[in-house]
């Protein structure tokens, strides 16, 4: 509680007692921003920074940017104007990723057309013919947000002092290992400094996807050495590190390392290379990120980015974002498709436009059966491909689309979307025709007889057949309607279905304990199986269909269920993807993985994915629509927020 707030409370009490005019006037009051934020041809920098340069508190622009040839020129949709605050609600520090996505600057980033990566923090790269040596060039004269130079030493520091010792509690990322094609052994890469602005990464075996994998696994392959040398125990000693941690409000140096090493962008003390940097305590009611005066990108006219002055987020307690949006209090924020009608109806009142991005999900509705579920009756049944086909054809996808998604989706299988590598049309349309007779015939063939009243099926030994579908209550409004409809379709072919919506924490607990027999598909998907295969392969406990196969792989066989048959083949093919010598080879083995998926349909999908919505204030410009919204591309970050601007 600050003094200011205390005074405010007292003053308000007095005023309330005096009977202050309530609801005086109406409508939204705007504080007028009287400093004119016209783009100045001469300065090429934001007026607020220019003023600081004038009074000598900031070096001139040329000294803040990298040398002319190394400045990154960002393509902009139109030349912007400086100024404005990007306002939106956030849920506090739990919502840290929302701000990360907006401000993230990766070493290599995905191109907006989705076709691979391009240098971002890096200026460029060279790779040798067998894809074992990657030479990465940095930008000469580039600076951290506190003005310190950004050099190869910062990359080496990150590698030696943060990645390898696991300072922030994460094991070294997969992308830094290459695989021996003969033995399958994983070998760690070597990182060395060539000169101040060049780093070389050497793999023992070819790693043709290294750059893409770094762009997914470890976007920030660098850390400010000069900063960490003042907080890490290995430089200042344990006792001092503990003191520093407590000064920052953390319990111990470990917590400080984790929170500033991984979730670093919310701490004002930590220099970054992002367009906006934290300016106050993220636990405050209002958290503000201000423009980075040393940001290293300009528009084609040479104006330093970002255009927008600040990102201002206010802590929201509940789901008030929608109300906030339609009353015009939000500049740009993503919304689920279920809010489409509400958002559209209030477009003019809220003075915003609704734009759509595409999803990378496999389907919007669907179901998964846990292949390792520990039940003597259900496990063989779930592994029976005929049962999965029966569940797929027992559902009227058209009706599901009409009821759950207002008819905005098309019938489809849970398959890769068109435009994504390894896409195939045959998978997309497999088992999608509504055919109750076929479903019944399959179930009869498996040996699941009806009872005498013909109301439900049981196993052949008389054990009742019950399909329990769990889903986590994460606020997705379509889940209830979806699950109830699926229940009615499944029960129409004799499969007793029980729907269990449960708490998100409990759901994960049960998932790790392998207690979830069946689940809703949710938004799983990928932009490229070879980059991010998690939903397709049991690498760890994550996606419900492979259950404890994932644990087996994660614990190297100590726990879990050993993959056999086609699942084992998936992993075999994956190890070939990882050990591939060329992109063609990667593609070939990824294709095999998709073949196996198409054959087995472990993830049963019913309707096509829904687009992702953003509301954008009408005066906010340069916000593209129609891009792919996904974690790999960092959500809205894929739209290059540093070139968004407010029309002044």
């Amino acid at each position: 509680m600050t003094m200011g707030t205390c005074r405010l409370l007292v003053a308000a009490l007095v005023l309330a007692a005096l009977g202050a005019p309530a609801f005086a006037g109406g409508g939204r009051e705007q504080t007028t921003n009287d400093d004119t934020t016209m783009m100045s041809e001469a300065t090429h920098e934001a007026p607020m920074l220019h003023a600081m340069v004038e009074d000598g508190s900031l070096p001139p622009l040329e000294e803040r940017l990298p040398i002319a040839s190394d400045v990154m020129v960002e393509e902009v949709h139109e030349e912007g104007q400086y100024g404005g605050d990007w306002r939106m609600p956030w849920k506090g520090i739990d919502d840290k990723w929302a701000l990360s996505f907006i401000t993230e600057e990766a070493l290599f980033r995905f191109r907006t057309d989705g076709e691979g990566v391009e240098p971002n923090v890096a200026k460029g790269y060279d790779v040798n013919d067998d894809a074992t040596e990657y030479t990465i060039y940095l930008r000469e004269g580039m600076k951290w947000s506190d003005g310190e130079p950004f050099t190869a030493a910062d990359v080496l520091f990150y590698w030696d002092h943060m990645l390898l010792p696991e300072t922030f509690g994460k094991a070294l990322y997969d992308c830094y290992y290459s695989v021996d094609p003969e033995t399958g052994e994983r070998v760690r890469a070597e990182v060395e400094k060539v000169d101040d602005y060049t780093v070389k990464i050497t793999h023992a075996f070819p790693s043709p996807l290294f750059l893409e994998r770094v762009a997914i696994d470890n976007k920030w392959f660098f850390a400010p050495a000069h900063f960490y040398e003042t907080i890490l125990p290995e430089f200042i000693g344990d006792a001092r590190a503990q003191e520093v941690a407590e000064e920052w409000g953390f319990a111990d140096a470990g917590a400080l390392g984790k929170w500033t090493g991984y979730y670093y962008w919310v701490w004002p003390e930590r220099p970054t290379v992002r367009a906006w940097v934290a300016s106050n305590d993220p636990n405050s009611q209002r958290f503000i990120m201000e423009r980075n005066p040393y940001f290293w990108k300009t528009d084609p006219e040479g104006n330093q980015l970002p255009y927008i002055d600040r990102i201002v987020v206010d802590k929201a307690e509940g789901d008030t974002a929608l109300l906030d949006a339609i009353s015009g209090g939000i500049d740009l924020l993503g919304f689920p498709f279920t809010d489409f009608t509400m958002l559209k109806e209030n477009e003019s009142q809220g003075d915003y436009r609704v734009i759509q991005w595409n999803s990378s999900a496999l389907a919007s509705t669907g179901v998964m059966l846990n292949q390792t579920f520990d039940d003597p009756h259900l496990r063989p049944l779930f592994r029976d491909i005929r049962f999965r086909e029966a569940l797929s054809v027992a559902v009227d996808r058209e009706a599901l689309s009409e009821i759950v998604t207002d008819g905005l989706t098309e019938p489809r299988q849970a398959a890769l979307l068109p435009g994504i590598p390894n896409y195939r049309a045959s998978w997309e349309t497999k088992w999608i025709d509504y055919d109750v007779d076929r479903a019944n015939a399959l179930l009869d063939e498996i040996g699941l007889p009806w009872n005498s009243e013909h109301t439900r099926r049981s196993f052949s030994d008389g054990t009742p057949l019950e399909l329990v579908i769990f889903y986590s209550q994460d606020g997705n409004a379509t889940r209830d309607a979806e699950s109830e409809l699926l229940k009615s379709y499944y029960e129409a072919v004799g499969i007793t279905t029980i729907i269990r919506p449960i708490d998100q924490g409990l759901y994960h607990e049960m998932k790790y304990a392998n207690q979830i027999p069946a689940s809703l598909l949710g938004g799983i998907g990928t932009v490229n199986v070879a980059f991010r295969p998690d939903n397709f392969l049991p690498l760890r406990v994550l996606t419900e269909w492979y259950g404890h196969y994932g644990l087996y792989n994660q614990t190297e066989g100590e726990e879990g269920v050993e993959p056999t048959g086609d699942v084992a083949k998936l992993l075999e093919n994956w190890s070939r993807v990882v050990a591939a010598k060329s992109r063609e080879e990667v593609d070939e083995w990824a294709d095999r993985i998709i073949d196996i998926h198409e054959k087995n349909v472990w993830m049963i999908g019913y309707t096509s994915p829904l687009p992702h919505l953003f509301i954008v204030k009408n005066d906010m410009r340069n916000v593209p629509s129609g891009l792919v919204f996904c974690d790999e591309f960092r959500g809205i970050g894929h739209g290059r927020p540093s070139q968004f601007f407010f029309e002044q």
């Binding site: 405010l8 308000a12 696991e166 994460k170 953390f250 209002r286 206010d314 109300l323 409990l506």
Partner: protein
């Protein structure tokens, strides 16, 4: 009297201890722990966590120990050092988090409480003294409506009306454009405007039931023989009413002070979530959901202490106000 108070104060210690033990145990009861929630949220955000890292974090937080060990460590810290532990979720000392919203919570609660009493007591008196008139029926109807309407629903309705009529749902306690500005008349006016809905919403529910209590108690008192005696002796109605029956009828309000104190401290949780108020309620709700044990536990411990103190205070107040009770102590 002094002996009585001392005895009560000493009895508080075992009470608080047992209650804290039980609450701590109950917080642990739901399946999973803080890490489960953490992993769930991290996965939803696209993070990938390996088993090793999860195990390390559990150890760091002491979550791998049985609950009574965790309890012992926590209560030991409180008793010996006044240290309520760390919140897992915020990575901050528990007291820092509780303190952050304390003033605003107490302020809103007090204003709503004032509102409650200002409405409930006069209306209750009016209702009892005008029994079975249209005025009584009207206040009874409104009272029941107020009691039957869930707070949060009233909140949503008022926000909607405010949005329709004024184009602003009055979320939170300040308009965004005023946050962080130095104190000035417009800032205060804006703040007071934002107080209206929360105070009405939080105050109405309490007021409605209090009207009923006040009315019932007062009706009981008005039928007492001493009232007739006093009237017969020529005491004016108004003087009589406020000197004797009203004073007696106000007892239940005092005896519920024990709970009122906790309500002041916690703020109204669901209402605060709906209206987006930065009070304790939502923070604690989140803490309980995510099993942020030390935060949730400390909060419940403070509530326990406040309830116990509140009960004592209301007993003392009752004795002070009501000579009949006072006689029993001496």
């Amino acid at each position: 009297m002094l002996r009585y108070v001392t005895k009560r104060l000493l009895l508080m210690i075992p009470t608080v201890f047992v209650v804290s033990l039980i609450t701590f145990y109950i917080i642990q009861l739901p399946p999973g722990d803080f890490m489960t929630t953490y992993i769930a949220e991290a996965e939803a955000a696209g993070e990938r966590l390996d088993l090793q890292a999860i195990r390390m974090m559990r150890e760091n937080y002491g979550l791998d120990r049985p609950w009574y060990v965790q309890y012992g460590k926590w209560i030991g810290g409180i008793v010996t050092r006044g240290d309520f532990g760390f919140s897992f979720k915020y990575n901050r000392p528990v007291m820092t988090i509780i303190r952050q919203r304390m003033a605003i919570t107490i302020f809103i609660s007090l204003v709503s409480l004032l509102f409650t009493y200002m409405i409930a007591i006069p209306v209750g008196i009016f209702s009892a003294t005008h029994q079975y008139t249209w005025g009584d029926y009207l206040t009874t109807l409104l009272g029941f409506l107020g009691m039957a309407t869930p707070n949060f629903l009233l909140g949503i309705i008022l926000m909607y009306l405010s949005f329709r009529w004024f184009g602003n749902p009055m979320l939170g306690l300040q308009s965004p454009e005023y946050i962080g500005l130095p104190l000035s008349i417009p800032v205060i006016v804006d703040f007071v405007k934002h107080l209206i809905i929360p105070v009405i919403v939080i105050g109405t529910a309490g007021a409605s039931s209090l009207i009923r209590v006040m009315r019932g108690q007062l009706l009981d008192e008005l039928r007492q023989p001493y009232v007739e005696t006093a009237l017969a002796k020529g005491l004016s109605w108004r003087r009589l009413l406020f000197k004797y029956p009203v004073r007696a009828a106000i007892n239940p309000i005092l005896s519920t002070l024990g709970w009122t104190l906790t309500a002041i401290f916690s703020g109204s949780t669901i209402t605060a979530i709906v209206l987006n108020l930065p009070t304790q309620g939502p923070v604690m709700y989140e803490a309980l959901l995510s099993q942020d044990m030390y935060l949730a536990g400390s909060w419940l411990l403070i509530l326990t202490v406040l309830t116990v103190i509140g009960t004592l205070v209301s007993d003392i107040l009752l004795a002070w106000l009501d000579p009949r009770i006072r006689e029993e102590y001496s």
